[in-house]
Assembly symmetry: C2
Homo-oligomer: 417 residues x 2
């Protein structure tokens, strides 16, 4: 095979024409798994005020320095500070303030002694406050006090542009009183399949026809990556149908059009004809298996990726070429697959040295990953992809990897550990 384009070069050529989307405001509660389009600077300190980390009594540490179980120090209780208490006040000298976890430490106090180290331990915090409290042990200045700003300081950058927001990030933003953040707009991807042999779900099966699986495999991958999918349906093997299918996007142009060619390379010629008449298209033969033929271009200035029609080739092509586009549209750094190193149970052969993605099953034994192939590796055989939990990768230029050798694998299973 001559003139096969290396995968990395094909990826780079595609990404060279893709720009990150613009930003839009998003309510913080709805921003989970969105990508920040701004640095977040804290408008508050966290905690906002010195507060107690225990239920107990705020005191001046020098007033209880001699406390012990046999010689408790007893102080009158002059304040009761529940959580949410607004008026801090000053702790009168030689008194204690009953205080709950999270409540503001009064000025003057420099430590909190937990209720377990007092004679009030049996007295629930919700019971009426007693007139005095006996302390069984001393405290150092600062004990059981969380200082204002110890977690986050006013003006600090807490989350950076490009951050993929996780549940804990949403919690932090809420803690800071932030209501709305700028996030990258969701990538909008229009999907179609082409081929006279394709049936939509719900149409009756008939001889020579197959149900179109690619639309659903690809839309699942794209939606998992945070993209919004526009379904264009099935283009038949004639130029009018292809053009009508594609022209659905013109009302609200997406960031990307992704097609898969039914199962027919021949059918793809109609897509080529229509796209070349309305944009441009390059067919590449990429140095990979499966998924060698990849088309890239634009339709009326909208980027277009044409994937092979075989479902497994389309799936792998989408992982290799389309998901990196989604990341770039979302303003995320280049893709890192979850790569596992696994020891082969059986040899892998890649006779022509293309970078090859085999469907495999990985399992962990005594801390080491082992890999075997799933069944029939034909690229039309979706079931062997369903049975796989990983893609086993033979690098370009390698013809053979023996049993017992270690290879890299992409995990396909979010639960693979």
């Amino acid at each position: 095979m001559t003139n096969l384009l290396p995968i990395r070069e094909a990826q780079e050529r595609i990404l060279a024409v893709i720009n990150a989307r613009g930003s839009e405001p998003c309510k913080v509660e709805l921003a989970i798994h969105r990508v920040l389009a701004e640095d977040i600077i804290s408008p508050l300190a966290l905690p906002p005020f010195n507060n107690s980390s225990m239920d107990g009594y705020a005191i001046r540490s020098d007033e209880v320095s001699n406390a012990s179980p046999s010689t408790p120090v007893t102080l009158p209780v002059s304040l009761d500070i529940p959580a949410g208490f607004a008026q801090q006040g000053v702790l009168a000298k030689e008194t204690a303030a009953r205080i709950l976890t999270g409540a503001p430490v009064p000025d003057g106090a420099d430590a909190v002694i937990p209720i377990e180290a007092t004679d009030q331990f049996k007295n629930p915090q919700t019971a009426p406050m007693q007139g005095s409290v006996g302390f069984f042990k001393p405290a150092k200045a600062g004990d059981n006090i969380r200082l204002a700003g110890e977690d986050v300081q006013l003006g600090q950058v807490v989350l950076e542009k490009g951050r993929h927001l996780l549940p804990q990030d949403i919690g932090l933003l809420i803690s800071l009183g932030i209501r709305e953040v700028q996030v990258t707009q969701k990538a909008r991807v229009a999907l179609f399949s082409s081929g006279d042999e394709l049936l939509l779900p719900g149409q009756p099966m008939s001889p020579g026809m197959i149900y179109d699986a690619n639309t659903y495999v690809l839309s699942g991958l794209l939606e998992d990556a945070g993209a919004e999918v526009i379904h264009l349906g099935i283009a038949l093997d004639n130029p009018e149908s292809v053009k009508n299918t594609l022209d659905q996007v013109l009302q609200n142009p997406p960031d990307l059009i992704v097609g898969s060619a039914g199962v027919s390379v021949g059918a793809f010629d109609y897509v080529r004809e229509v796209i070349e008449a309305n944009g441009s298209l390059s067919f590449w033969r990429v140095n990979m298996r499966p998924g060698k033929p990849v088309a890239f271009g634009n339709y009326k200035s909208i980027p277009f990726v044409g994937l092979p029609g075989n479902p497994v080739s389309a799936y792998i092509g989408a992982r290799v070429f389309v998901l990196p586009i989604i990341r770039k549209l979302h303003g995320l750094p280049p893709f890192t697959q979850h790569v596992i190193q696994a020891v082969l149970d059986e040899p892998l052969h890649s006779p022509d040295g293309r970078e090859s993605y085999f469907r495999g099953v990985i399992r962990k034994e005594e801390g080491v990953y082992h890999a075997r192939l799933t069944g029939h590796q034909g690229s039309g055989n979706l079931f062997s992809l369903v049975q796989a939990n990983a893609l086993l990768i033979v690098p370009a230029g390698v013809n053979h990897v023996g049993a017992g050798e270690t290879i890299s694998a992409w995990s396909l299973d979010p639960e693979l550990t």
Copy 2:
């Protein structure tokens, strides 16, 4: 510390009273990331018919056995079989059928010769069919034919009950013409926070108050696990408010109620009082850090988990105790976190030997994971969780793990590779 319950025992006690939810029908297109509640038996063979894996010509292999570039075998073209062709017909002897990838192989033919190995290679498949074709090489019986049923056989179990459905599974179900599957109902979880000091997003900040982060941290974790979250809001530190908050669930009882205690253990007493009067509640001291105090019981027969109020404790408590409940409700097997083995940059100390979860950052260097701590490990400090990409785990009974030693870690970052 005496009488600390081992984590595994607390988990087992909780899971002992949780049952998988019932099933419901779901359209296949909407079933992604749902859990199958039935075995799927294939109603079709895949491929449904013998078909060509190449664009080319279907022939009888014994009729072209002498073909070579210098002595091509020429046959008249008697059939043209595009994709989606319904009438297979029989290939007349000593003729060839033009055939596209995926199109049904006619009876009589036993191999397909790709167009590249014929004198029609320059002739696009979409051009008018020529009267005859010259073959430059022979074929073996079966070449370039995908046999009916080679991927999936009629009646075969293709997906098993308990399967978490991925994009490729949806594609397979669509391929099989299946329109609807039984899936486990989504877990319904009611969430509340408690504490007089808590503010809702949008309320003005005032002295002594903090915004309630836990609701959003927990709802993010739960929704990522596929649960439906019902927000009960904030219960104030009085029995009426707690009861009113909880009674919101009675119209449509959820599978689980999860509370977090504002930041006050004292405040929790009101929750205890209300739940004990309307169900039962056990307080456990679990052998873990952070998150030692965990409450478990039921409110009017609905299972209840009470998490600590500190956001980091609540987060870790939810991962350890609540997410396994969601998995069981969904009919999934016990939880496996994504565990990474990492070499410590710095020592970890767990003076009282509790199973400890430290917030850390993991990085890969030359194929080996290394771990360091994020900043301040106080359990109120959400920012150090935000900065972490992993929880570094010191097992129960271990007081010290030295720099250079290997520990287990849970990945918190879906992109950690």
